[in-house]
């Protein structure tokens, strides 16, 4: 129904103003936005500001929270050439998978992409075409309850071992004090893309590589990676509830924000929500880089982040591209950073006093955001989903206690070799 209404509006626009008019009055552009945390509201505000400025209309389509399901939805829409959505919000790992369905944005950008992080622009460029504009970047960070750490005499941890020790001690003390629902650490442990992000961080923090290296070699079965996954498996039922094996971002935030966890691994968006007026933990939260594997490990975070792309099946690609350029502009990224702690993709914004005032850790963790570890989506191309699914299933098997870390990663290696022979 939306489709036909849109077509009618478009037809009216053609008849009234002529096809040459790039900013046809009253054109409706539909944009897909995520609905994690404050995302949807923020997207609506930005898009409506653009609509008011240009005289067009926007319709917001909210999409599933799980990235895996969102990709599935997009693939079905795009594979059938549906015109229902003009602007797609896409994950940093998707340009390779979905690129062929999007238009080249370079002719519409007027060189705006030069101000953004180069690595992300490179990631979004497929066969020389700029398939998407960076909207916000992401890297996993460690949230902690500053009040609880201080009360029990702990410093923010720098290694996973310190984190587990502090979590166990604080959890035990809090439970003794009658706070029975208290847990030590929550993260994203459901068998989906989020677990791949979490587990990649564990492995990388132990110096265990990135599952598949830049040359396409399978590196996941190594002692450091085994140690990383084995370490994570010890958390379940000790400092992490077993239910974490079915948590995505919002479930983990639900537990942490209601005051029932000492530590949480999550993306930066959780900061402004934890600090919002109705949050029970307002003013009690701190953020540090994710812990190192050991003394010789490293701080890391999986590169996440979302881009905006214009469907090549759109009835008004030019108008849609204009919306994309508006939403990814300096001003709009600044508003999103201040209001909801979404990481800008424009380097200059990390030196903006107003932004740093609203989200202090953007300054401290700048290095984490710029040197985040990328998932092997470029090198594995269209097979990335298969690789990721095999990986998260292997990790999930170990976390749920079905298979030792060593055996699980050895089996994964075999499975990845099978996928690789299909070609990446």
């Amino acid at each position: 129904m939306r489709h036909s209404a849109q077509a009618a509006v478009f037809a009216a626009a053609i008849a009234g103003f002529g096809a040459a008019e790039t900013r046809a009055q009253g054109v409706t552009v539909s944009i897909s936005c995520g609905a994690v945390g404050a995302e949807l509201e923020l997207c609506r505000e930005g898009a409506e500001a653009w609509a008011a400025e240009t005289g067009n209309r926007v319709s917001i389509v909210s999409t599933p929270n799980s990235t895996t399901e969102r990709l599935a939805l997009y693939q079905q829409l795009l594979a059938s050439g549906a015109r229902d959505i003009d602007v797609f919000q896409i994950d940093v790992i998707w340009p390779g998978i979905l690129g062929r369905h999007f238009i080249d944005l370079a002719p519409h950008s007027d060189g705006a992409e030069d101000a953004h992080f180069e690595a992300i622009i490179e990631n979004n460029t497929v066969d020389g075409e700029l398939k998407a504009m960076p909207w916000y970047t992401d890297a996993g960070v460690l949230y902690y309850r500053a009040d609880l750490l201080e009360a029990h005499g702990f410093e923010p941890p720098t290694t996973w071992a310190e984190m587990a020790e502090a979590a166990a001690a604080i959890m035990a003390a809090e439970r003794e004090a009658g706070n029975n629902g208290m847990w030590g650490f929550v993260f994203q442990g459901r068998a989906y893309e989020g677990l791949t992000c979490n587990a990649l961080e564990w492995i990388d923090s132990f110096g265990g590589g990135t599952i598949v290296d830049a040359d396409g070699e399978i590196t996941v079965n190594n002692p450091a990676a085994v140690e990383a996954i084995a370490t994570a498996a010890t958390w379940i039922d000790t400092i992490s509830p077993r239910g974490v094996l079915n948590y995505a971002e919002e479930e983990a935030r639900g537990v942490f924000q209601s005051g029932n966890a000492v530590f949480m691994r999550n993306w930066p968006y959780a900061w402004s929500l934890a600090q919002s007026d109705d949050s029970p933990i307002r003013g009690k939260v701190g953020v540090v880089a994710l812990p190192m594997g050991g003394e010789d490990g490293q701080h890391t975070g999986t590169l996440g982040g979302w881009q905006l792309a214009v469907s090549r099946y759109s009835a008004n690609p030019e108008v849609a591209a204009d919306l994309v350029m508006y939403l990814t502009s300096y001003e709009e990224q600044k508003r999103r950073a201040i209001q909801a702690s979404y990481n800008p993709t424009i380097a200059a914004l990390y030196e903006d006093a107003e932004v740093l005032d609203a989200v202090p850790f953007f300054g401290d963790l700048y290095a984490t955001f710029t040197s985040a570890v990328a998932r092997p989506s470029r090198v594995t191309g269209e097979n990335y989903n298969r690789v990721s699914s095999a990986f998260w299933n292997a990790v999930h098997r170990t976390l749920s206690g079905q298979q030792e870390a060593g055996a699980s990663l050895a089996a994964l290696e075999g499975e990845l070799q099978g996928i690789r022979r299909r070609g990446w």
Binding site: Q75, G189, R190, R422
Partner: protein, 322 residues
């Protein structure tokens, strides 16, 4: 796919009367019957036959989502491949087959037992029976996605009411992550399915119970036979044909289970069924060829099981009627 298999059932049941058709008059009748049936057959061919054939065709190609046009014929490589990537060589596929069969057998058995109990209770005359019959259908009437999401929340380990209830009753000491642990995920899924589909089973069995002749029961009462004996010697044999139809319907439905499992446990391998596996290949991995191969096998397995069940059921039916 299921529309076809379900449509086949009445055919087999009505096979005998058709054999009488022979004279010229009945031939004319058959012709006009075919004429009346033709529009329906065309629609069926379009909505069920064409997609089925297309899926089977895709299973012999390397088609990928988004670029259907570039598909190449690769023979049986999706099923059996010398290098070991065929569907029949994939441990995950066999795991999915095993999960599906386990789910089907356990859930349909439980639903049959509970459905029978409910049907027997509803078959007794008592005030408000009509209302109760309607009310018991509510779980069946709620769309599966809605009820699955609802159960997903009730089963949640931190704020689910089920854990709260059990902990207050002292049945468990710590919250259980029903849908997350490998040991309880399948049980949770089966429980929700039993909750949802027992009413349907009960309704089908109830319809069968109401057709039973009352003279057998009167005879049994006159002879003073124990009710349990009456159930096993009179009710069960008589209601058996209706029960078989109900079981076949449910089994067909259970073999292609997707929505409930996908909502509750997503793509987890512990509960992945054949349909979930096929969808993951088709959509998540964009591998239309391989996914179609999985769909085709799913179709073959269901068709095979249906035929065997019907055959086995008929043989027994013949023996029962004396």
């Amino acid at each position: 796919m299921t529309a076809e298999t379900e449509a086949r059932l009445p055919d087999l049941a009505d096979a005998q009367p058709r054999a009488a058709a022979g004279s010229e008059l009945s031939q004319a009748k058959v012709r006009s019957a075919l004429l009346f049936l033709a529009p329906m057959l065309v629609v069926l061919a379009l909505v069920a036959g064409w997609p089925l054939l297309r899926t089977i065709w895709f299973s012999f190609t390397d088609a990928r989502l988004g670029v259907f046009g570039e598909a190449n014929f690769i023979g049986l490589a999706n099923f059996w491949d010398p290098e070991g990537f065929g569907l029949l060589q994939d441990a995950n596929w066999w795991r999915a087959v095993q999960n599906t069969l386990y789910f089907t057998v356990v859930s349909v058995s439980l639903e049959t037992v509970f459905g029978m109990i409910v049907a027997l209770a509803l078959n007794v005359r008592f005030p408000g029976r009509g209302w109760l019959r309607a009310a018991i259908l509510i779980p069946w009437a709620i769309p599966t996605i809605v009820s699955a999401q609802m159960w997903g929340w009730m089963l949640h380990d931190q704020f689910g009411m089920l854990n709260d209830l059990f902990m207050r009753l002292g049945l468990i000491s710590a919250p259980i992550a029903w849908t997350a642990s490998a040991d309880t995920a399948m049980a949770a899924v089966i429980m929700v399915d039993v909750w949802k589909t027992t009413p349907f089973m009960a309704l089908l069995i109830l319809a069968g119970l109401q057709m039973l002749p009352s003279d057998c029961y009167e005879a049994a009462r006159v002879d003073g036979i124990h009710p349990v004996r009456v159930f096993f010697k009179v009710t069960l044999p008589l209601v058996y044909p209706a029960l078989m139809v109900a079981v076949i319907f449910r089994a067909l439905d259970a073999l292609r289970i997707f929505d409930l499992i996908y909502v509750l446990t997503s793509n987890s391998r512990d509960t992945m069924t054949m349909s979930v596996y096929a969808r993951q290949q088709l959509v998540d991995f964009q591998d239309v060829g391989y996914g179609s191969a999985a769909s085709t096998l799913l179709f073959l397995i269901i068709a095979l099981l249906t035929i065997t069940t019907i055959m086995a059921g008929r043989v027994k039916l013949g023996g029962e009627v004396r």
